[in-house]
Symmetry: C2
Subunit: 265 residues, 2 copies
């Protein structure tokens, strides 16, 4: 199975993209709803949580683990990938590569959680590939709670998005990276507030593409993956918000299974 985790429901945007790009392959998703959000917590705590989440997916049968959470990808990918034998994927690099392909003027904005922006991982990865690039980052810590609450079209959400984007408006960026898997759910607002001439990068398609390319190179792993089309959704806490949002994002009836963390590990 393809294992995917996030702090909450944001990673379901990645599940949707994987279902489209690799149809029929079984997926096991874990949303750590009992401890979400991750983005306001310290790197040490996020590393602990991401390690537990990865182990949980492996025990549930995952043959590879995708961190569909920018916060975990930013601060926990290296310590975890180094220790696990199971292949681990993260969402930052595909977003960076897509942004550099799209940008004409190499002036790139990045929005993310406090932990992601604090890690400066986007800036580092962009400048490694393109030393002349200018990167402008803004932490937007309230956007995850707004999405988890389902405030997707409220005027208050629009004014908060606008406030966060203001420092990017006069930087002449031509590309803006949604550096959090929750943010594609607000893409319509972000695109409207930043301006329709700006490329707004949702990394989920690039992540799915990267995973598909990896599996093409690893045919023995690819053939070992079950293909019954099953998508299991595990959560550490069952809440009505998660269920309704999952149904909206995956466009199918969902059934949640509760796991207890870290007691089950």
């Amino acid at each position: 199975m393809i294992g995917i985790f996030d702090s909450g429901l944001g990673g379901l945007t990645v599940v949707r993209a994987i279902m489209d790009r690799l149809p029929g392959y079984d997926i096991v998703y874990f949303g750590d709803t009992a401890r979400m959000p991750y983005g306001s917590k310290s790197p040490r705590t996020v590393v602990d949580y991401a390690r537990q989440d990865s182990m949980l997916l492996i025990r549930k049968g995952a043959r590879l683990v995708l961190m569909a959470c920018n916060t975990a990808s930013s601060v926990a990918f290296e310590p975890i990938a180094r220790r696990l034998e199971t292949p681990v994927f993260e969402v930052v690099t595909p977003a960076v590569e897509t942004a550099l392909q799209c940008s004409r003027n190499q002036r790139i904005g990045v929005i993310g959680t406090r932990a992601t922006i604090g890690s400066a991982v986007y800036e580092r990865k962009i400048k490694n590939r393109q030393p002349d690039a200018a990167v402008y980052s803004v932490a937007c810590p309230l956007l995850v709670p707004l999405v988890e609450e389902g405030w997707l079209r409220k005027p208050e959400t629009k004014t908060i998005v606008k406030k966060y984007l203001t420092p990017l408006k006069n930087r002449q960026i031509d590309t803006l990276v949604l550096g959090c898997t929750h943010y594609p759910i607000l893409k319509h607002i972000v695109q409207h507030k930043i301006g329709k001439q700006i490329n707004v990068i949702d990394s989920s398609l690039a992540v799915a593409e990267k995973l598909a390319a990896y599996l093409t190179d690893q045919p023995s792993l690819l053939h070992a993956l079950p293909q019954t089309g099953r998508v299991r959704l595990l959560v550490s806490d069952i809440t009505p918000q998660f269920e309704s949002m999952a149904q909206m994002l995956l466009q199918q009836k969902v059934e949640l299974e509760q796991v207890r963390l870290p007691v089950d590990l």
Copy 2:
């Protein structure tokens, strides 16, 4: 020691009141910042967390435990108080009693987290004491993230408070209970938006009063409590926001100690 816990920093409003009412008595506080917020999580998860938090405080030397969190008080007080030998206090009852004392027309509004409002504990406790009272409750799930972010005077916070209070505006309430220990930090906005003729009830003073009365009746416990004036602040995750807000609320330099949950238990 007097043990006090909350999901995050809201309970520090209660610490402040206890320090004023019972000066010199040692306090050990636990803020579960690695798993906050509680108010959007399910009752079962909140009961588990509140039990772990109570046990942690007892192991650290608490002789009584005060749940300075309305969510925990609402859904977890009964199962936990029933099992522990240590006296356990909650914050809902003192708020209810104060509200009934203040209200002239017995039309009372309550704001709180989704879990607190969903439990209907305020309505039940008010109607037990005053069957004719009318209680109007509104869940305000974004206020805790706004406080934890330190957005205490931003226009977006004001418009969100206003939106939450709108359904209460034409109910002819004369009293509004702040049913979450984070909300006193936004009291200036709430009072402004609901109108200056409305009693806005911050339960922290009433809680401190209740605790002092209990201790007066239990002189052996009172005399067993250390009085070195020490306030220990334990957190499950150290973040800069918690530190600066704690300094502001307690008006003294603070030092945070990190505990690991539930591994330490």
